[in-house]
């Protein structure tokens, strides 16, 4: 189930799942969240705006219950992955806090001068060890658009890194809770494999 709280590129994710034959619904009701066997949490734009919109939805509590109590696998995409964290330098809203840590802003002076913010490009992604999400993906490359990056408190929650003038966390994972900073739905065959891994291996 792709969570629809009014934010994010739901159509792109849905299109890719359809392309790889994974049955999906775009949902915005409590019942749909209750029925979900797997959850994709998209997000785009401002962290605070995304959190506010999600908190406004009437399935917000159900979502927590599904993920924390029933341990239903969840995959956060882009700002959706940042929302899994506790706080963000982009705003004051609390994140979901499902993974310990925060979201930080790329600082201009820590990047080479020709590295503009936002980081908006394809980048090589380096999975840490054998990550089920990246299984079968040879030399993974994904499309990124972000000015902020996830920074988990526990290094063990980093599932992959990428480089943008400096290394940063490209994805996080803590068991059934996974988040990717990039856009798999816009990363053709790499993304198809990643979504298919999420559907089959979690």
């Amino acid at each position: 189930m792709i969570v629809n709280y009014g934010v994010g590129n739901l159509a792109s994710i849905f299109n890719m799942l359809k392309k790889i034959g994974v049955p999906a619904v775009i949902g915005n009701t409590q019942q749909q969240v209750r029925d979900a066997s797997k959850i994709i949490l998209p997000g785009i734009g401002h962290f605070d705006y995304c959190m506010q919109e999600l908190k406004k939805s009437d399935f917000y509590d159900t979502l927590h219950e599904k993920v924390l109590n029933e341990k239903v696998p969840v995959l956060g995409i882009c700002v959706g992955s940042q929302m899994l964290m506790e706080t963000s330098e982009e705003g004051n809203e609390a994140g979901l806090g499902w993974i310990k840590g925060k979201v930080k802003k790329f600082q201009k002076d820590e990047l080479p001068s020709d590295h503009k913010i936002p980081h908006m490009s394809w980048s090589d992604v380096h999975p840490k060890g054998n990550q089920p999400l990246y299984e079968g993906i040879d030399q993974p490359r994904f499309y990124f658009v972000h000015s902020y990056y996830i920074d988990p408190a526990d290094g063990a929650d980093v599932t992959a890194t990428a480089d943008y003038g400096r290394p940063f966390t490209a994805s996080v994972g803590h068991g059934h809770i996974q988040g990717v900073q990039f856009h798999p739905e816009k990363s053709h065959r790499f993304g198809m494999q990643l979504y298919s891994n999420f559907a089959q291996r979690f």
Binding site: A11, N15, G45, K116, P118, Y143, S187, H188
Partner: protein
């Protein structure tokens, strides 16, 4: 870079002599298979006819595009931008609207982030050799200096500039490196070079010498020279790494 005119895909030379190159959906499918990094789709008939973006067509194209896609053509309101972005498009491209209603850049940037709004700037040299921004598909001189206009767009919240040289369009003569440098030095947002690509060497030069953040090409990817027969092609990742990424 794909241009739509009416229902078909076309390619121009110096913004004129549009040649039909095929069906948009079919082309997008081929570019998918070739693992293209990004697509920009501009409907050059939308603004001219005064109609808004054709959402049905855009959504159809987006549903086949598993790479980042920008769309431009006929967007004049925040609502239209919102609908385009909700239909599987990552970035909206403004051209005429960036002149007529610069506040739209700001509105889109505030609502969806600066990364979702691209301003395309079409530039041509006047008879006196001065670069000027042209509008209405390159037919009308706005009188504006591209450097000043680009700075203004950045200030208004644009996340990216698609810098198009009208004279180089469809000529395979290479990008206008002077123009790229001039505008690139004046703004902090990424500049995408457009107009004139004929080879991977041109890409390299635009990035290395022109300091462009990215490059785009139209004719080079849809035509086969010397006779400009329609044949969609795209370099492999290996070629790109060896001939560009490792050289810049």
């Amino acid at each position: 870079m794909l241009l739509i005119k009416g229902d078909g895909l076309v390619k121009s030379v110096q913004f004129k002599n549009h040649k039909y190159v095929g069906d948009p959906i079919n082309a997008v499918k081929i570019f998918n298979d070739k693992e293209v990094d990004e697509l920009a789709i501009l409907d050059i008939s939308a603004s001219a006819k005064g109609k808004g973006p054709d959402i049905k067509k855009i959504s159809e194209i987006a549903s086949e595009a598993f790479m980042p896609v920008s769309y431009g053509g006929g967007i004049t309101t925040l609502d239209e931008a919102k609908t385009v972005l909700a239909n599987g498009i990552e970035k909206v491209v403004l051209n005429k609207s960036a002149h007529e209603r610069p506040e739209l850049i700001t509105q889109i940037a505030n609502a969806f982030g600066a990364q979702s709004v691209v301003v395309s700037i079409d530039v041509k040299k006047t008879m006196w050799g001065k670069y000027k921004v042209y509008i209405e598909n390159g037919t009308k001189n706005s009188g504006l200096d591209p450097v000043e206009f680009a700075k203004q767009c950045e200030k208004n919240g644009a996340g990216e500039i698609l810098l198009n040289s009208i004279e180089r369009d469809g000529t395979y003569k290479g990008y206008d490196l002077d123009l790229l440098k001039m505008v690139g030095n004046a703004v902090n947002i990424p500049i995408v070079a457009c107009g004139g690509a004929g080879s991977l060497e041109d890409f390299r030069a635009a990035v290395k010498e022109g300091k462009a953040s990215a490059v785009s090409a139209g004719s080079m990817f849809v035509f086969q020279r010397p006779h400009n027969a329609v044949l969609i092609s795209y370099p492999t990742q290996k070629q790109l790494v060896e001939q560009i990424y490792s050289q810049v």
